[in-house]
């Protein structure tokens, strides 16, 4: 152990110093942005949620937990979560479908890279563009000012009655859920493909030798290996379901019974200028997401923690 006195500048020129300096420089931009655009506004939001204030923040009053009481006691606010159930169920279907498609795309079919591209493409599209496309797709139109949309044209060609997809409250939510599945499924497929391809081919070979069929291979090899990814996807799905905003806001503006909690939050803050109450609603949403994440951590704790330790043991064994 040699100890030499060095000035700060000398220290900066050492490997250690260079490492830290580079790290700081690289982090400067993202961390500044993070603090400026996420941490400070989020902190303000939590503060505002204990206040009664308007858009300009003139004469803000501290009201304690009053806003939270309103969110939970007034059904006008809390009941807007009921539409999230549609999206939640939809996202389970989406996961199942994505897993199926990912399994198919991992087998040796022709043009599989092309299909991967096609399926992933919607995810890269802007939400506004997606909404505009589907407005055309589901439109009924009146044949005078607006044209009949894609689906209804096909229905009419087949001699069926046109359907008011977006203005019938009993089906509008299903249409919106369909759009959301269409848009986000590409991301799920890519995640699953990544997970499935990381499984060593040795295991498959061994399974083949043992005479495993397709289902058994999925059930005993693929599924256990991608369990962490599935759990992550489910959390993202729940998070997405409680915070739906973009697609219903653009396509129906939340009309015809398609309003969501976030649309209601937006209206409370912007239309009625109850910024305090809207902040409380946003904080409630944040807490719900945190709770879901904690449940997931608890639920999948075993499988998550078991794996790395087992792997390590195996590696150690090999070395030994």
């Amino acid at each position: 152990m040699q100890k030499k006195k060095r000035s700060f500048w000398q220290w900066l020129k050492t490997y250690e110093g260079q490492k830290i300096l580079t790290t700081i420089l690289f982090l400067l931009v993202p961390v500044t942005c993070l603090i400026l655009f996420t941490v400070i506004p989020a902190g303000n939001m939590v503060l505002f949620s204990f206040q009664e204030r308007d858009r300009y923040g003139l004469d803000a009053k501290w009201v304690g937990l009053e806003n939270y009481k309103t969110v939970f006691s007034n059904p006008d606010y809390f009941m807007t979560f009921k539409n999230s159930i549609y999206y939640l169920i939809g996202s389970f279907a989406q996961q199942a479908l994505a897993l199926l498609l990912a399994s198919i795309l991992c087998s040796k079919i022709k043009l599989r890279n092309f299909f991967k591209g096609v399926l992933f493409f919607p995810y890269m599209m802007n939400g506004v563009a997606v909404s505009l496309i589907f407005m055309r797709f589901f439109a009924l139109g009146d044949g005078i000012v607006t044209q009949t949309g894609t689906v209804n044209t096909i229905l009419q060609q087949l001699g069926m009655d046109p359907v008011k997809f977006l203005s019938d409250p009993s089906i509008a939510n299903y249409c919106l859920v369909f759009i959301s599945i269409w848009r986000y499924i590409g991301f799920d497929i890519v995640m699953y493909i990544g997970a499935i391809q990381s499984i060593s081919s040795d295991i498959y070979e061994a399974a083949d030798l043992d005479g495993a069929n397709g289902w058994q291979r999925f059930r005993y090899i693929v599924f256990p290996s991608i369990k962490p990814i599935i759990s992550l996807q489910l959390i993202l799905a729940i998070k997405g379901a409680v915070s739906v905003f973009e697609i219903p806001y653009i396509i129906t503006e939340g009309k015809f019974g398609t309003s969501t909690f976030v649309i209601k939050t937006h209206e409370t803050g912007m239309v009625f200028q109850k910024v305090g109450l809207a902040s409380a609603m946003a904080v409630v949403l944040l807490i719900i997401i945190i709770i879901v994440t904690l449940i997931q951590k608890h639920f999948f704790k075993e499988s998550d923690e078991d794996k790395p330790s087992k792997k390590k043991k195996a590696q150690n064994g090999e070395v030994a």
């Binding site: 009924l140 000012v145 607006t146 008011k164 409250p169």
Partner: protein, 449 residues
């Protein structure tokens, strides 16, 4: 190496800087009217800065063209500064002393605060002889701003050709007659939508119906009476909210009178379609007349505008209200000249004629589309007494009734969707009862404070 490091540091700093500066968007456009050369001619030459929301007529050059005359006569330069998000941007500037010499008074300034920001013009008694709606920006009998134009708060845009084709010779005078007109259009005109809801953009299009309410009441102090007499907001025996929204409900309930799918309307496409005679009527403010005339091209003469058809004692009533009012910064160095400019802009500039809007100057000619209002009783809503100033608005927002809003839980949206679903009278009564009780509860707490 050293150079590279410096470069890296500089780059990262530059990136931080650009990310930060990118936040402040510069969406104000300014234009200098009059040439700079002129300014050398006299020592007294001054420049007035005018803040306005009319970026469109700054860009089209119309303002500069009209202002030349004023600049020459008064040896000054008028510099217009336009804001696309006027109300918000100017609200920020108002917190300093530097907010131009002349500006449109944003509605966020409370009437009682006007004296803190704007130079007084004079007493109301003097100005009410000269301008209509001179009390729009008035406090304690002192006028702080003059209306740049007047609007008919609400009315119905109709296609004259379609009405003629349907065999309608006289404009309707009651809601039932109006619905009768729509039925006549349906029966006599092929390929015409009698009433176009524009419901896809309901968050603002449905609020246009609110403009009919005070007109339908025929009572200039209708909204004040609602506070003092504490009646229900929707009262079947009082003309006003009930009349207007019952009409909405009845029209929207009949699928043969409106377009096939209210979820897929198109605001931009409806303008030319209206000119081509594919649409019978729409509820809109008088501000829309110019836009639809422009989109109609050669058929501009077919664009008609009628008041809310609700006859009271043999008279149709229509409320007119002020557009933005122009005021003068009390910190300005040239208050007198600035006030002269305001009077010129409001009265003599010729802008109102060019734009086909209703001038505030008493004695000035009304635009042509107002011919339909010749035997209509035009009135201005009574100013609320000091103790009730802003109270209606407070109750409206606190109760989340939102008379002027189109949020998803709004009573207008609920009424329209109940009508589309064909739920009938019962649903109508249930919705208005709900609104009445919400309103009454908040009114009682607000008035008790």
């Amino acid at each position: 190496m050293k150079f590279k490091k410096l470069l890296a540091t500089a780059l990262s700093l530059a990136m931080v800087a650009t990310t930060l500066t990118a936040c402040g968007s510069d969406d104000s456009s300014s234009s200098k009217a009059g040439s700079e050369a002129e300014s050398g001619t006299s020592g007294e030459h001054v420049t007035l800065q005018v803040l306005t929301h009319r970026t469109d007529i700054i860009e089209s050059g119309l303002l500069d063209e009209l202002t030349d005359e004023f600049e020459k006569a008064n040896n000054c330069t008028i510099e217009y500064v336009g804001y696309t998000d006027y109300a918000n941007d100017v609200a920020t500037r108002l917190s300093t002393e530097d907010y131009g010499d002349v500006l449109m008074i944003p509605d966020s300034v409370k009437l009682s605060d006007l004296g803190n920001f704007f130079a007084p013009f004079g007493s109301y008694d003097e100005y009410k002889e000269l301008y209509q709606c001179a009390d729009s920006k008035m406090f304690d009998n002192t006028v702080y701003g003059l209306p740049t134009a007047l609007n008919v708060a609400g009315g119905i845009l109709y296609n004259k050709q379609v009405f003629a084709d349907a065999g309608i010779t006289e404009l309707p005078r009651t809601p039932d007659e109006f619905i009768g007109c729509l039925e006549a259009i349906r029966d006599n005109c092929e390929g015409v939508i009698p009433y176009y809801t524009n419901y896809k953009d309901a968050s603002w299009t449905i609020t246009q119906w609110q403009g009919l309410v005070v007109s339908a009441s025929g009572n200039p102090s209708y909204e004040i009476d609602l506070l003092t007499e504490k009646g229900d907001l929707f009262d079947a025996d009082v003309n006003g909210y009930y009349t207007v929204y019952k009409m909405l409900f009845d029209i929207f309930s009949d699928p043969t009178l409106i377009e096939a799918d209210p979820a897929t309307t198109d605001w931009e496409a409806c303008k030319p379609a209206f000119g081509e005679g594919k649409i019978g009527c729409m509820v809109l403010g008088s501000w829309a007349v110019g836009q639809f005339q422009e989109a109609a091209g050669d058929n501009a003469a077919n664009v008609g505008f009628m008041p809310m058809p609700n006859e009271i004692d043999g008279k149709i009533n229509a409320q007119i209200s002020a557009d933005y009012c122009m005021g003068v910064n009390k910190h300005s160095d040239n208050v007198e000249l600035a006030q002269k400019f305001v009077k010129w802009y409001v009265g003599e500039s010729g802008l109102q004629v060019k734009e086909n809007v209703i001038p505030a100057l008493i004695g000035a000619d009304y635009p042509e589309f107002m011919d339909a209002f010749n035997d209509v009783n035009l009135f201005v809503a009574t100013t609320a007494p000091a103790e009730l100033t802003g109270v209606f608005n407070t109750i409206d927002k606190d109760s989340e009734v939102g008379t002027w809003d189109g949020d998803t839980a709004n009573f207008k949206i609920k009424l329209a969707e109940a009508a589309f679903a064909g739920e009938g009278e019962e649903a109508f009564n249930k919705i208005i009862e709900e609104v009445n009780s919400k309103w009454a509860a908040t009114r009682d707490t607000v008035l008790a404070d």
